[in-house]
Assembly symmetry: none
Homo-oligomer: 144 residues x 2
Amino acid sequence: MLIGEYIHTIDNKNRVSLPAKFRKEMGKSLVVTPGLDNCLFIFTKKEWVKISEKLSEFSMLAADNRSFNRFMFGGATEVDVDNIGRFLLPDFLKTRAGLTEKVALVGVQNRVEIWNDTKWNQYKKLVEKQADSLAEKLGGAGML
Amino acid sequence: MLIGEYIHTIDNKNRVSLPAKFRKEMGKSLVVTPGLDNCLFIFTKKEWVKISEKLSEFSMLAADNRSFNRFMFGGATEVDVDNIGRFLLPDFLKTRAGLTEKVALVGVQNRVEIWNDTKWNQYKKLVEKQADSLAEKLGGAGML
DNA sequence: GTGACTAGGTGGGATAAAGTGGTAAATTAA
DNA sequence: TTAATTTACCACTTTATCCCACCTAGTCAC
Protein backbone atom coordinates (compact mmCIF):
# COMPACT_ATOMS: atom_id res chain seq x y z
CA MET A 1 0.00 0.00 0.00
CA LEU A 2 1.59 3.23 -1.16
CA ILE A 3 0.79 5.84 1.46
CA GLY A 4 2.63 8.50 3.42
CA GLU A 5 5.09 11.23 2.64
CA TYR A 6 8.86 11.25 2.98
CA ILE A 7 11.27 14.15 2.58
CA HIS A 8 14.48 13.10 0.86
CA THR A 9 17.35 14.86 -0.83
CA ILE A 10 18.54 14.74 -4.41
CA ASP A 11 22.30 14.50 -4.19
CA ASN A 12 24.72 16.10 -6.63
CA LYS A 13 24.53 13.06 -8.88
CA ASN A 14 20.76 13.31 -9.12
CA ARG A 15 20.26 10.23 -7.00
CA VAL A 16 17.08 9.89 -4.96
CA SER A 17 16.42 7.16 -2.44
CA LEU A 18 13.04 5.57 -2.68
CA PRO A 19 11.54 5.45 0.82
CA ALA A 20 12.16 2.05 2.35
CA LYS A 21 8.45 1.53 2.90
CA PHE A 22 7.84 1.69 -0.84
CA ARG A 23 10.66 -0.54 -2.04
CA LYS A 24 9.06 -3.91 -1.72
CA GLU A 25 5.93 -2.87 -3.54
CA MET A 26 7.69 -0.88 -6.27
CA GLY A 27 10.36 -3.40 -7.22
CA LYS A 28 13.59 -2.64 -9.03
CA SER A 29 12.27 -1.25 -12.29
CA LEU A 30 10.33 2.01 -12.26
CA VAL A 31 8.89 4.42 -14.78
CA VAL A 32 9.05 8.11 -14.02
CA THR A 33 6.74 10.43 -15.94
CA PRO A 34 5.70 14.06 -15.81
CA GLY A 35 2.69 14.28 -13.53
CA LEU A 36 -0.18 16.64 -13.07
CA ASP A 37 0.04 19.79 -10.95
CA ASN A 38 3.77 20.12 -11.46
CA CYS A 39 4.98 16.92 -9.88
CA LEU A 40 6.39 13.67 -11.22
CA PHE A 41 4.75 10.27 -11.12
CA ILE A 42 6.60 7.05 -10.37
CA PHE A 43 4.93 3.84 -11.42
CA THR A 44 6.03 0.27 -11.24
CA LYS A 45 6.91 -1.10 -14.63
CA LYS A 46 3.84 -3.29 -14.43
CA GLU A 47 1.49 -0.46 -13.57
CA TRP A 48 2.95 1.64 -16.36
CA VAL A 49 2.14 -1.04 -18.93
CA LYS A 50 -1.48 -0.91 -17.81
CA ILE A 51 -1.59 2.84 -18.01
CA SER A 52 0.09 3.07 -21.38
CA GLU A 53 -2.42 0.59 -22.76
CA LYS A 54 -5.24 2.77 -21.54
CA LEU A 55 -3.65 5.87 -22.97
CA SER A 56 -3.21 4.31 -26.37
CA GLU A 57 -6.92 3.53 -26.45
CA PHE A 58 -7.65 7.24 -26.66
CA SER A 59 -8.22 8.32 -30.20
CA MET A 60 -5.21 9.79 -31.92
CA LEU A 61 -7.51 11.96 -33.94
CA ALA A 62 -8.32 14.35 -31.16
CA ALA A 63 -5.57 16.90 -30.86
CA ASP A 64 -5.73 17.19 -27.09
CA ASN A 65 -5.43 13.42 -26.66
CA ARG A 66 -2.45 13.49 -28.94
CA SER A 67 -0.76 16.17 -26.93
CA PHE A 68 -1.58 14.49 -23.64
CA ASN A 69 -0.04 11.27 -24.86
CA ARG A 70 3.06 13.12 -25.99
CA PHE A 71 3.22 14.65 -22.55
CA MET A 72 3.05 11.29 -20.78
CA PHE A 73 4.97 9.07 -23.19
CA GLY A 74 7.51 11.60 -24.31
CA GLY A 75 8.55 12.38 -20.80
CA ALA A 76 8.43 8.84 -19.46
CA THR A 77 11.74 7.31 -18.45
CA GLU A 78 12.53 3.87 -17.16
CA VAL A 79 14.89 3.87 -14.19
CA ASP A 80 16.45 1.11 -12.13
CA VAL A 81 16.64 1.03 -8.37
CA ASP A 82 20.13 0.15 -7.15
CA ASN A 83 20.73 -2.33 -4.37
CA ILE A 84 20.45 0.24 -1.59
CA GLY A 85 17.20 1.67 -2.90
CA ARG A 86 18.25 4.67 -4.99
CA PHE A 87 17.44 5.64 -8.54
CA LEU A 88 18.79 8.22 -10.93
CA LEU A 89 16.53 11.12 -11.85
CA PRO A 90 17.09 12.44 -15.39
CA ASP A 91 17.89 16.11 -15.55
CA PHE A 92 15.01 17.05 -17.83
CA LEU A 93 12.43 15.61 -15.42
CA LYS A 94 14.07 17.26 -12.48
CA THR A 95 13.91 20.57 -14.28
CA ARG A 96 10.39 20.04 -15.46
CA ALA A 97 9.06 19.53 -11.94
CA GLY A 98 11.17 22.34 -10.56
CA LEU A 99 12.94 20.04 -8.13
CA THR A 100 15.76 21.31 -6.00
CA GLU A 101 17.64 19.64 -3.18
CA LYS A 102 14.72 18.65 -1.00
CA VAL A 103 11.88 16.63 -2.46
CA ALA A 104 8.74 15.08 -1.04
CA LEU A 105 7.99 11.50 -2.07
CA VAL A 106 4.28 10.91 -1.64
CA GLY A 107 2.49 7.59 -1.90
CA VAL A 108 -0.88 7.97 -3.65
CA GLN A 109 -2.78 4.77 -4.46
CA ASN A 110 -0.91 3.08 -7.27
CA ARG A 111 1.87 5.61 -7.68
CA VAL A 112 4.51 7.64 -5.90
CA GLU A 113 4.68 11.35 -6.59
CA ILE A 114 7.79 13.50 -6.43
CA TRP A 115 7.31 17.11 -5.38
CA ASN A 116 9.48 20.06 -4.69
CA ASP A 117 9.02 19.99 -0.92
CA THR A 118 8.10 23.65 -0.67
CA LYS A 119 5.42 23.28 -3.30
CA TRP A 120 4.14 20.16 -1.61
CA ASN A 121 3.69 21.96 1.67
CA GLN A 122 1.90 24.83 0.01
CA TYR A 123 -0.32 22.42 -1.83
CA LYS A 124 -1.24 20.58 1.35
CA LYS A 125 -2.20 23.79 3.11
CA LEU A 126 -4.39 24.76 0.20
CA VAL A 127 -6.28 21.47 0.30
CA GLU A 128 -6.66 21.57 4.04
CA LYS A 129 -8.40 24.92 3.83
CA GLN A 130 -11.19 23.40 1.80
CA ALA A 131 -12.59 21.73 4.89
CA ASP A 132 -16.16 21.68 3.61
CA SER A 133 -15.52 19.60 0.55
CA LEU A 134 -13.14 17.54 2.64
CA ALA A 135 -15.84 16.59 5.11
CA GLU A 136 -18.19 15.81 2.28
CA LYS A 137 -15.71 13.47 0.65
CA LEU A 138 -14.71 11.85 3.92
CA GLY A 139 -18.34 11.09 4.48
CA GLY A 140 -18.59 9.65 1.00
CA ALA A 141 -15.70 7.34 1.73
CA GLY A 142 -17.34 6.03 4.88
CA MET A 143 -14.83 7.63 7.19
CA LEU A 144 -17.33 9.55 9.26
CA MET B 1 -17.07 -0.44 19.99
CA LEU B 2 -14.41 2.14 20.67
CA ILE B 3 -15.47 4.55 23.39
CA GLY B 4 -13.87 6.74 26.01
CA GLU B 5 -11.14 9.35 26.05
CA TYR B 6 -7.61 8.99 27.34
CA ILE B 7 -4.91 11.60 27.82
CA HIS B 8 -1.49 10.27 26.89
CA THR B 9 1.88 11.79 26.19
CA ILE B 10 3.94 11.77 23.03
CA ASP B 11 7.47 11.05 24.20
CA ASN B 12 10.58 12.54 22.64
CA LYS B 13 10.72 9.73 20.11
CA ASN B 14 7.19 10.44 18.90
CA ARG B 15 5.79 7.32 20.52
CA VAL B 16 2.19 7.19 21.66
CA SER B 17 0.64 4.39 23.66
CA LEU B 18 -2.67 3.22 22.40
CA PRO B 19 -5.04 3.03 25.37
CA ALA B 20 -5.14 -0.52 26.69
CA LYS B 21 -8.89 -0.63 26.25
CA PHE B 22 -8.51 -0.17 22.48
CA ARG B 23 -5.73 -2.64 21.85
CA LYS B 24 -7.66 -5.82 21.45
CA GLU B 25 -10.11 -4.29 19.01
CA MET B 26 -7.53 -2.35 17.00
CA GLY B 27 -4.95 -5.08 16.54
CA LYS B 28 -1.29 -4.58 15.72
CA SER B 29 -1.51 -2.86 12.35
CA LEU B 30 -3.05 0.62 12.20
CA VAL B 31 -3.42 3.36 9.65
CA VAL B 32 -3.29 6.98 10.79
CA THR B 33 -4.88 9.57 8.50
CA PRO B 34 -5.68 13.28 8.59
CA GLY B 35 -9.12 13.93 10.07
CA LEU B 36 -11.44 16.86 10.51
CA ASP B 37 -11.19 19.82 12.89
CA ASN B 38 -7.46 19.38 13.05
CA CYS B 39 -7.36 15.91 14.52
CA LEU B 40 -6.06 12.59 13.23
CA PHE B 41 -7.97 9.39 12.64
CA ILE B 42 -6.70 5.93 13.52
CA PHE B 43 -8.25 3.01 11.69
CA THR B 44 -7.54 -0.67 11.77
CA LYS B 45 -5.75 -1.87 8.69
CA LYS B 46 -8.87 -3.76 7.71
CA GLU B 47 -11.06 -0.69 7.96
CA TRP B 48 -8.56 1.33 5.96
CA VAL B 49 -8.60 -1.15 3.10
CA LYS B 50 -12.35 -0.61 2.81
CA ILE B 51 -11.89 3.15 2.86
CA SER B 52 -9.10 3.18 0.32
CA GLU B 53 -11.24 1.19 -2.07
CA LYS B 54 -13.92 3.82 -1.81
CA LEU B 55 -11.38 6.56 -2.32
CA SER B 56 -10.10 4.87 -5.44
CA GLU B 57 -13.52 5.15 -6.97
CA PHE B 58 -13.25 8.92 -7.15
CA SER B 59 -12.31 9.85 -10.69
CA MET B 60 -8.82 11.18 -11.20
CA LEU B 61 -9.98 13.39 -13.98
CA ALA B 62 -11.45 15.93 -11.60
CA ALA B 63 -8.78 18.09 -10.00
CA ASP B 64 -10.48 18.25 -6.61
CA ASN B 65 -10.65 14.47 -6.37
CA ARG B 66 -7.02 14.29 -7.28
CA SER B 67 -6.07 16.69 -4.56
CA PHE B 68 -8.29 14.97 -2.05
CA ASN B 69 -6.70 11.62 -2.73
CA ARG B 70 -3.26 13.13 -2.47
CA PHE B 71 -4.26 14.58 0.81
CA MET B 72 -5.68 11.35 2.19
CA PHE B 73 -3.22 8.80 0.81
CA GLY B 74 -0.22 11.04 1.16
CA GLY B 75 -1.32 12.01 4.62
CA ALA B 76 -1.90 8.46 5.76
CA THR B 77 0.67 6.18 7.36
CA GLU B 78 0.67 2.56 8.29
CA VAL B 79 2.03 2.06 11.79
CA ASP B 80 2.70 -1.03 13.85
CA VAL B 81 1.85 -1.35 17.49
CA ASP B 82 4.81 -2.68 19.48
CA ASN B 83 4.45 -5.39 22.08
CA ILE B 84 3.66 -2.97 24.90
CA GLY B 85 1.02 -1.12 22.91
CA ARG B 86 2.84 1.87 21.46
CA PHE B 87 3.11 3.17 17.91
CA LEU B 88 5.29 5.72 16.21
CA LEU B 89 3.67 8.92 14.96
CA PRO B 90 5.42 10.40 11.90
CA ASP B 91 6.52 13.99 12.28
CA PHE B 92 4.44 15.30 9.43
CA LEU B 93 1.23 14.03 10.98
CA LYS B 94 2.17 15.33 14.38
CA THR B 95 2.77 18.72 12.85
CA ARG B 96 -0.39 18.65 10.79
CA ALA B 97 -2.58 18.05 13.82
CA GLY B 98 -0.63 20.54 15.94
CA LEU B 99 0.16 17.90 18.52
CA THR B 100 2.43 18.69 21.41
CA GLU B 101 3.27 16.63 24.46
CA LYS B 102 -0.22 15.84 25.67
CA VAL B 103 -2.75 14.28 23.35
CA ALA B 104 -6.29 13.05 23.76
CA LEU B 105 -7.14 9.66 22.29
CA VAL B 106 -10.86 9.44 21.72
CA GLY B 107 -12.81 6.39 20.66
CA VAL B 108 -15.49 7.22 18.08
CA GLN B 109 -17.42 4.31 16.57
CA ASN B 110 -15.01 2.54 14.23
CA ARG B 111 -12.06 4.84 14.73
CA VAL B 112 -9.86 6.47 17.33
CA GLU B 113 -9.14 10.19 17.07
CA ILE B 114 -5.97 11.92 18.20
CA TRP B 115 -6.30 15.49 19.42
CA ASN B 116 -4.06 18.10 20.88
CA ASP B 117 -5.48 17.87 24.41
CA THR B 118 -6.00 21.62 24.72
CA LYS B 119 -7.94 21.72 21.48
CA TRP B 120 -9.91 18.71 22.57
CA ASN B 121 -10.98 20.39 25.77
CA GLN B 122 -11.97 23.54 23.94
CA TYR B 123 -13.93 21.49 21.47
CA LYS B 124 -15.72 19.63 24.24
CA LYS B 125 -16.67 22.87 25.96
CA LEU B 126 -18.01 24.21 22.72
CA VAL B 127 -20.13 21.13 22.22
CA GLU B 128 -21.33 21.22 25.82
CA LYS B 129 -22.40 24.81 25.42
CA GLN B 130 -24.32 23.95 22.34
CA ALA B 131 -25.90 21.08 24.21
CA ASP B 132 -26.97 23.44 27.01
CA SER B 133 -28.59 25.92 24.69
CA LEU B 134 -30.20 23.08 22.83
CA ALA B 135 -31.59 21.72 26.07
CA GLU B 136 -32.97 25.15 26.94
CA LYS B 137 -34.76 25.34 23.67
CA LEU B 138 -36.17 21.90 24.14
CA GLY B 139 -37.22 22.81 27.66
CA GLY B 140 -38.87 26.01 26.37
CA ALA B 141 -40.83 23.94 23.96
CA GLY B 142 -42.08 21.79 26.81
CA MET B 143 -40.26 18.70 25.69
CA LEU B 144 -38.21 18.08 28.84
C1' DG C 1 -5.64 0.24 56.86
C1' DT C 2 -1.24 -1.43 55.19
C1' DG C 3 1.63 -3.66 52.10
C1' DA C 4 2.48 -6.61 48.14
C1' DC C 5 1.11 -7.40 43.52
C1' DT C 6 -0.49 -6.34 38.89
C1' DA C 7 -1.35 -3.63 34.85
C1' DG C 8 -0.93 0.50 32.28
C1' DG C 9 1.91 4.10 31.00
C1' DT C 10 6.57 6.42 30.45
C1' DG C 11 11.56 6.84 29.71
C1' DG C 12 16.11 5.49 28.07
C1' DG C 13 19.91 2.65 26.04
C1' DA C 14 21.57 -0.71 22.61
C1' DT C 15 21.12 -2.40 18.14
C1' DA C 16 19.62 -2.34 13.46
C1' DA C 17 18.10 -0.05 9.45
C1' DA C 18 17.60 3.88 6.45
C1' DG C 19 19.44 7.77 4.20
C1' DT C 20 23.36 10.36 2.44
C1' DG C 21 27.99 11.33 0.82
C1' DG C 22 32.02 9.83 -1.35
C1' DT C 23 35.56 6.82 -3.79
C1' DA C 24 36.87 3.33 -7.07
C1' DA C 25 35.97 0.78 -11.11
C1' DA C 26 33.97 0.44 -15.57
C1' DT C 27 32.18 2.15 -19.59
C1' DT C 28 31.87 5.44 -23.20
C1' DA C 29 33.48 9.23 -25.88
C1' DA C 30 37.04 12.01 -27.80
C1' DT D 1 45.08 6.41 -24.88
C1' DT D 2 43.15 9.77 -22.20
C1' DA D 3 39.37 12.24 -20.34
C1' DA D 4 34.79 12.36 -18.91
C1' DT D 5 30.75 10.33 -17.46
C1' DT D 6 28.28 6.62 -15.52
C1' DT D 7 27.78 2.64 -12.59
C1' DA D 8 28.86 -0.09 -8.68
C1' DC D 9 30.56 -0.31 -4.24
C1' DC D 10 31.89 1.24 0.37
C1' DA D 11 31.53 4.16 4.62
C1' DC D 12 29.53 7.38 7.65
C1' DT D 13 25.60 9.66 10.04
C1' DT D 14 21.21 9.81 11.49
C1' DT D 15 16.95 7.81 12.57
C1' DA D 16 14.02 4.16 13.83
C1' DT D 17 13.17 -0.19 16.32
C1' DC D 18 13.57 -3.33 19.91
C1' DC D 19 14.19 -4.39 24.51
C1' DC D 20 14.48 -3.63 29.33
C1' DA D 21 13.67 -0.88 33.52
C1' DC D 22 11.06 2.28 36.20
C1' DC D 23 7.06 4.70 38.00
C1' DT D 24 2.36 5.23 39.25
C1' DA D 25 -2.26 3.89 40.26
C1' DG D 26 -5.44 0.59 41.23
C1' DT D 27 -6.49 -4.16 43.32
C1' DC D 28 -6.32 -7.79 46.32
C1' DA D 29 -4.94 -10.21 50.51
C1' DC D 30 -4.06 -10.03 55.07
